[in-house]
């Protein structure tokens, strides 16, 4: 029992869990035909059947049931404001399964030359009164029931009166912003708190214009738009929901990482031995003091960033993403690659941190400009 917990504690560390997810993710949601073939070979689509659903759900329930026997896990999960996040896990898994199940069914139908089920349904028209109006009424009645029962069982949290001089440890933002707060570990506030949210909003708004695939409109499907779904799932599930879960359940005092079954020990220490790129280059490689001139000091970082956002898309357009470039045209392509690179920069920065202890690529704290 203890060793299982210990094991879970170890694998839930971001630097274990995140690479694991990265490794598995693209097999579960294969963006390309080649990965899809592997996916099929591994029979991962079985996840999206009733049996898979039962397996998914029962394992989720087992994890929670098992977890709730542990006092640390229980304390975190049953904190009133964390309850919706536990609910969120179940809801997300359920709706993910449900949508993917329908998508696979439709994919199968279409593979056999039939249209999607929705197309069949759509041939028939139904009057809104009373069918839709009625189920809506029932849905909102049930929703109200849920709210009332939830409110009766769980009181809204109220802590000590506000005290500007005593900050609780850890101080956490509202849960839906914990993804951003988690990013703060790897990025400066101006990136994690301002730039990323802006890019996320713009990126989301740009989805309809970037996804020029006309197929898959109005019905669940996967294979026809696997690239789009895969990227969306990656952003939404991994970079948003997963980071929220990490921020909520796995970050304890001093924003240190704590496994789900690990007590929140305020004195836990992690070796933080981060260096800036400029320090690596000048101090470790060139064995010099850092140059006084800021620009000279950070020139390498700037070059790297320039390459990443400027040259890399061009190179990709000529090589890996040739087809994509052709399909999207230059404007859409550059927007797409910019957003993609922006998003990918988070895992890149994480890995740079874990592997090379890199704190900032460009570090100009004098002007609050750190990347």
């Amino acid at each position: 029992m203890e060793s299982i917990k210990h094991f879970i504690n170890i694998i839930s560390a971001p630097y274990v869990m995140f690479p694991l997810i990265l490794a598995v993710f693209f097999f579960i949601f294969p963006p390309t035909d080649r990965l899809l073939a592997i996916h099929k070979k591994l029979r991962l689509y079985k996840l999206w059947t009733n049996g898979g659903g039962i397996a998914l759900f029962s394992s989720l329930i087992i994890i929670f049931a098992f977890g709730l026997t542990d006092s640390n896990f229980r304390r975190i999960v049953t904190k009133p404001d964390n309850v919706p996040i536990a609910g969120l896990i179940f809801l997300v898994v359920f709706f993910l399964w449900w949508s993917m199940k329908q998508a696979w069914e439709n994919d199968e139908r279409m593979a056999q030359g039939q249209g999607p089920r929705e197309a069949e349904d759509a041939k028939e028209k139904v009057l809104v009164w009373p069918d839709l109006v009625y189920i809506e009424l029932i849905a909102l009645i049930l929703c109200t029931v849920l709210l009332i029962v939830w409110s009766i069982f769980l009181k809204a949290p109220l802590e000590e009166p506000a005290n500007p001089t005593v900050s609780p440890n850890p101080s956490k933002a509202p849960w839906y912003f914990l993804g951003l707060q988690e990013m703060l570990v790897y990025f400066d506030p101006w990136i994690a708190g301002v730039l990323f949210p802006t890019v996320i909003i713009i990126g989301m708004m740009a989805i309809p214009f970037l996804d020029t695939n006309e197929k898959g409109c109005g019905y669940y499907s996967f294979r026809e738009r696997k690239m789009a779904v895969s990227i969306f799932m990656f952003f939404w599930l991994v970079l948003w929901v997963f980071l929220i879960l990490v921020g909520t359940f796995l970050r304890g005092p001093n924003w240190n990482f704590f496994g789900p079954f690990e007590p929140w020990d305020i004195s836990k220490l992690e070796a933080l031995t981060n260096v800036n790129l400029s320090e690596i280059i000048y101090m470790i490689w060139l064995k010099q003091r850092l140059p006084q001139n800021i620009f000279l000091r950070e020139i390498w970082g700037f070059l790297l960033i320039f390459f990443y956002f400027g040259a890399a898309p061009l190179l990709l357009a000529k090589t890996f993403l040739k087809n994509l470039y052709a399909r999207l045209g230059s404007l859409r392509y550059s927007l797409f690659t910019f957003l993609l690179l922006m998003a990918v920069s988070l895992p890149i920065k994480m890995i740079l941190r874990w592997v090379f202890n890199i704190k900032y690529i460009v570090a100009i704290p004098e002007f609050f400009f750190n990347i």
């Binding site: 809801l91 449900w98 197309a119 349904d121 009057l127 709210l147 949290p157 509202p174 506030p189 101006w190």
Partner: protein
């Protein structure tokens, strides 16, 4: 029903034949097809819906009803929120005590719980709605604009929740908002701790100061205090609901105008 007497039938009938009844309900009880269409067309609220839908459009399997639930939770939050406003005073002196009183003495102060959990639920419902729309490709032409409006609604939903978070004025509230609002201070150029803030200066005179930057505009002070509480209160109760309503109206209007529920071509 079977052994209903003629007399009772007569009463119901008589009521439904009075001019008052008829002036309100034009259609009568929707029994036949025409009446079922008319009842949707004639009612300003039901008119949100089209008269008829392709069959998959009414299937829960397809829609998950998440859009409708988001709107419903919004309405529930509006009602409970208005009720809470009768007992809550957004000042440093009173806010915390008023929240305690909601639990301790206000009759049916459980409104606060419904409001808070409803807020969480709304964020989740909006996300799932977005997820469903994505999975059915419903953002594709001709619904691009409505997807964008939807993104705005998602952002507004989170801002509404965020501004409401401060109001209980407890440790949870001010420190969550401190962490959140400090990010505004890191805005490039116009935040004191953001890159380039020192560029907005002439000579020795700096124009981006803790009392004139983006964070200040948000919280009305140099730290979370009386002014922040009032600003968040006004945004939470008036400002953002007003904006989100406008966007919702556009959203619903465009759902109808862009061809109703998305269907396979």
């Amino acid at each position: 029903m079977a052994d209903q007497t003629d007399e009772t039938k007569g009463i119901l009938k008589r009521i439904s034949e009075t001019p008052v009844w008829e002036s309100v309900f034009r259609t009568g009880i929707p029994r036949n097809r025409r009446q079922r269409m008319m009842v949707i067309l004639n009612n300003v609220f039901l008119h949100l819906h089209p008269v008829r839908l392709p069959k998959h459009g009414i299937k829960l399997k397809y829609t998950w009803c998440m859009g409708g639930l988001s709107f419903f939770i919004f309405l529930a939050l509006t009602v409970t929120g208005i009720l809470l406003m009768f007992y809550y005073r957004p000042t440093v002196e009173y806010a915390y005590g008023d929240i305690i009183d909601l639990k301790e003495q206000v009759p049916l102060g459980i409104m606060r719980e419904i409001h808070r959990w409803g807020a969480h639920l709304m964020v989740i419902a909006v996300w799932l709605h977005m997820f469903r729309v994505f999975m059915t490709g419903a953002y594709k032409s001709p619904r691009e604009f409505n997807w964008m409006v939807g993104v705005v609604l998602l952002v507004l939903t989170m801002l509404l929740s965020f501004t409401g978070y401060l109001l209980p004025w407890d440790q949870l509230a001010i420190w969550a908002i401190t962490v959140g609002s400090n990010m505004a201070g890191a805005t490039p150029l116009v935040g004191t701790s953001g890159p380039g803030s020192s560029l907005l200066a002439i000579g020795d005179v700096n124009f981006v100061t803790p009392s004139s930057d983006a964070r200040f505009a948000l919280i009305g002070g140099r730290f979370i205090g009386e002014a922040a509480l009032l600003r968040f209160y006004v945004l939470h109760c008036i400002g953002l609901p007003f904006v989100i309503m406008i966007f919702m109206i556009v959203h619903f209007w465009r759902v109808r105008k862009d061809g109703g529920i998305s269907s396979p071509l």
